[in-house]
């Protein structure tokens, strides 16, 4: 339990503070509680009381789920997937179609979305895992595209490019926040359990040396499939959640190579492959980076421009806003070059680089 | 000519050579013998700068090799005929030979050297348009040796040239090595075929578990009971 102490404290914090956003009276209590801390810390403690930040946190938590799933198949099992969007989109469409075609609540998507994503993953993995080498990675890229095309072309079912719209269940963001939190915790716990079980040992053995794994009696084809199916199921659940939360989906957004599949990879490698909390750290960093760029430093750059009245700053602010996708690309390059095992995986090295004096004491 | 002094070599954090030193004098045939895994190939790869020694020095005609890139080593006049032949399987015999003569001096005399190689191995001339991967083991070894000669080296290193070849072919390969040497090339040979090797060499070193345990003339070692015991366990 000891190695989970910090995450558990964080979890407790994540569970309590958002209450202030909606439940009347709680905010006052929280503010009072927070007031014993220094002023600069209060800002962070009361962070979740704002709906805008709540929205961001929901995104972070959703990415924790997707990133953890990617980490299972790529980080632990060593089969890099470029096609998580195929499973994410399947889950999202499952939820959406239940609502539009069968008139059920889209929340039933949680029951159907995961298994349906597994249904996509199963034959796919069965074919691709027969071959070693880069085939799986490439095939996932193709799967991503195939699923998007199907969703676009099968108009009678999916309404093509128009996509699916449903009425949101809740007005407040708070229920979504807790569902996302639940999902994220579920996936981390689920993966933690899997990784520490027989399966986890088998997955890592396959990653480290497939020949050795086979001579140890491990059916590598079968266990790669197991890993892929768990990852697909979790990603499908995240997709079903997205349908419910966002209320509208279309093939381009949920089967997007860049916005979903690549983002999943980024969350995984930035945080640290093959670590329990790497994807969580990665999700936080990625959503933060994307938001900082998208909003021009939360509007600070624009504010600065208005304050100083300098057109140069205004131009910078405008460009920074446009550069958020560019920053992703640069981040991939920098991370792979300098922190190949991610922030969590390379933490000792990163720590030494950031605080060179801290290492000297030890 | 080639002087290896106290080299220590690691694969990752695994030490494979411990304080290995030996010398190759000009015009000689020098042999490293030893069982599988003793570090013979590693030694040659270190001379070729495919591996870098953690400590120790390697000098060739006064030039330090231990920190040089591998293509420099070839230019200085050391050819390496690797274990398992390592031909370019999809290239023709002729192209494989050409690959041996990339350094500028060898390149300018390419046609001349090639006809010499074809004289040495007439069968290769017949097969020159054939992909090297389709040749028999013995022929492949000839291409590998020919490719080494194409570099017009001063020193040529052979790594287990008899590996996996039929006895008759082995005999002819050793004949060729002796011939190459008599034409003025210095030879450094790594072998497990003790009898053949020791009978043609001038000086031999026995490698055991990454360090040199014995050295002497070929004849001395040939009749040494220890060598026999190390190989056959009798």
């Amino acid at each position: 339990m000891r190695q989970h102490r910090v995450p558990l404290i964080l979890l407790a914090y994540l569970a309590i503070f958002p209450l202030g956003a909606v439940v009347p009276g709680v905010l006052g209590v929280l503010q009072k509680a927070a007031s014993v801390f220094p002023e600069w810390l209060q800002v962070y403690l009361l962070w979740f009381t704002d709906t805008y930040l709540l929205n961001l946190m929901i995104l972070v938590l959703m990415w924790v789920t997707i990133g953890s799933a990617w980490n299972l198949i790529a980080g632990y099992t060593g089969q890099v997937s470029f096609g998580d969007a195929a499973f994410f989109g399947t889950g999202a469409y499952a939820a959406g179609l239940l609502s539009t075609k069968l008139g059920l609540s889209a929340w039933w998507g949680f029951l159907v979305g995961g298994p349906l994503a597994v249904l996509v993953a199963f034959p796919f993995g069965w074919i691709c895992f027969r071959l070693r080498g880069a085939y799986f990675a490439l095939a996932t890229l193709a799967l991503n595209e195939v699923m998007r095309h199907i969703a676009t072309i099968w108009q009678s079912l999916t309404k093509g490019m128009v996509g699916i719209m449903i009425m949101p269940t809740f007005v407040s963001k708070l229920p979504y926040y807790y569902i996302a939190l639940g999902l994220a915790v579920l996936s981390i716990v689920c993966i933690e359990i899997v990784v520490n079980s027989r399966w986890g040992y088998y997955f890592i053995s396959i990653r480290e040396d497939q020949d050795a794994a086979e001579s140890m009696g491990i059916d590598t084809h079968y266990y790669k499939m197991v890993s892929l199916c768990i990852a697909a199921c979790l990603t499908g659940l995240a997709g079903a959640f997205w349908m419910n939360y966002n209320g509208s989906i279309d093939p381009r957004s949920v089967f997007s190579l860049h916005d979903i599949s690549i983002m999943a990879i980024l969350v995984g490698i930035v945080g640290g492959v093959s670590t329990t909390y790497g994807p969580a750290v990665g999700a936080f960093i990625m959503v933060a980076v994307s938001e900082v760029f998208r909003t021009g430093g939360f509007g600070m750059l624009e504010g600065l421009a208005r304050m100083t009245n300098s057109p140069a700053t205004e131009v910078v602010a405008k460009y920074v806003k446009e550069a958020h996708a560019l920053s992703f690309g640069l981040l991939v390059i920098v991370i792979i070059l300098f922190l190949p095992n991610g922030v969590v995986g390379d933490w000792p090295r990163l720590k030494r680089a950031l605080w060179p004096w801290s290492g000297k004491k030890a | 000519m080639l002087r290896v002094e106290h080299i220590q070599v690691f694969y990752g954090d695994l030490q494979v050579l411990w304080d290995v030193s030996f010398e190759v004098d000009e015009g000689r045939i020098v042999v490293l013998v030893g069982a599988n895994g003793a570090g013979k190939s590693t030694t040659l790869k270190t001379v070729s700068a495919l591996l870098t020694p953690a400590s120790g020095t390697i000098t060739f005609e006064g030039t330090r090799l231990d920190r040089a890139p591998s293509h420099k080593v070839v230019e200085l006049g050391i050819a390496h005929v690797p274990e398992g032949r390592r031909l370019f399987p999809e290239m023709t015999v002729e192209e494989n030979l050409i690959m041996g003569s990339l350094a500028s001096e060898a390149k300018s005399k390419r046609a001349e050297t090639m006809s010499r190689v074809y004289n040495l191995f007439p069968v290769l001339h017949e097969r020159r348009r054939q992909p090297a991967g389709t040749l028999s083991g013995g022929e492949q070894q000839m291409v590998a040796i020919g490719r080494g000669i194409m570099a017009r080296p001063k020193l040529i290193m052979f790594d287990e040239p008899s590996l996996g070849l039929a006895p008759l072919v082995v005999a002819s390969i050793f004949e060729i090595i002796r011939m190459v040497n008599s034409e003025g090339l210095t030879v450094l040979l790594v072998e497990q075929n003790v009898k053949h090797t020791l009978s043609i060499c001038d000086r031999a070193y026995v490698l055991e578990n990454g360090s040199i345990t014995m050295e002497g003339s070929g004849r001395e070692l040939l009749h040494n009971e220890h060598v026999k015991a190390a190989y056959l366990g009798i």
Binding site: A74, G75, G78, V80, F82, I127, C128, L131, G133, A134, Y135, A137, L138, A139, L141, A142, E145, V146, T152, L257, I262, I269, V273, Y319, E322, A323, A325, L326, G329, L330, L331, V332, I333, I336, P340, N341 | S48, L50, P69, S70, H71, V73, V74, E75, H80, P82, R86, L87, F88, P89, E90, M91, E95, I98, M99, G100, L102, A103, K107, R147
Partner: protein
Amino acid sequence: MEVFFQTLVAGVLKGGLYALIGLGMALIMGVMGIINLAHGQLMMVAMYITFVLFHYLGVDPYRALPISMVSLFLLGIFIQKFLLNPLMKVESILPENQVLMTVGIGIVLTETARFIFSSNFRSVMTSYSTAVFFVGGISFSVALCFAFLCAILLTAGMFWFLLKTDLGRCIRAVAQDNEAARLMGVNAERIKVLTMGIGAMLVAAAGTMLMPVYYLFPDIGGPFTRKAFVITILGGLGSTVGAIFGGLTLGLVEAFGATYIGMDYEDMLGLIIFILVLLFLPGGFKRLTKV
């Protein structure tokens, strides 16, 4: 019947350009052992260079060809030297680090293009962009025919280079046995840098020649990257001859698919081929012909 031949011509002409794209990809695959997932993005950069030269300086796309090829050659060299080669010394858990790096490079190229040129569609309208000539009732696009011709010349030149020059032989040698090549005195790192440059140069040629008859926007790289890897998988990973057959096949399949099945399915067909190859012919055409 006329429709059939018209489709055949369209497919072959397109296939010629695809072969050029695939050839570069196959070279990179062979020498570096990685799938370059920034291949289409490199082509996109070449297209923008062509566009800028035409639009602002009035340079005809065909005259821009050498400029775009040289620029992309340099870009390829830069990428290999500073971004991919250093990765070989980095110890990491994922073996696909280099492939992930090319993804990152692809994003940077696409987004830089969007940054500079915005997402708008661009095109280069030349006097010959829409020109056609007829042979026996079948129309031939002048620009595409010219592009096809150039593609053949470039491919032939490339093969001459690979088969008849020392440098070309070095490239093949590194692809076949890296360590043995180093023993021959080949500077493998430099060969890798050169190969990436050549690969980028070939795809640049395809992009520039496509410019008079095609449109351009920053995201165009992605679909072409996918086409390129379908071509290399079809041809057999790393096989240059296979890539040419792969390119022609993809061109024909797309053309016939668009005519007889529907435009919507054009992109999908390539992916279906990909999966079929994976199922029934792992190893691609290379397995059939042994070349």
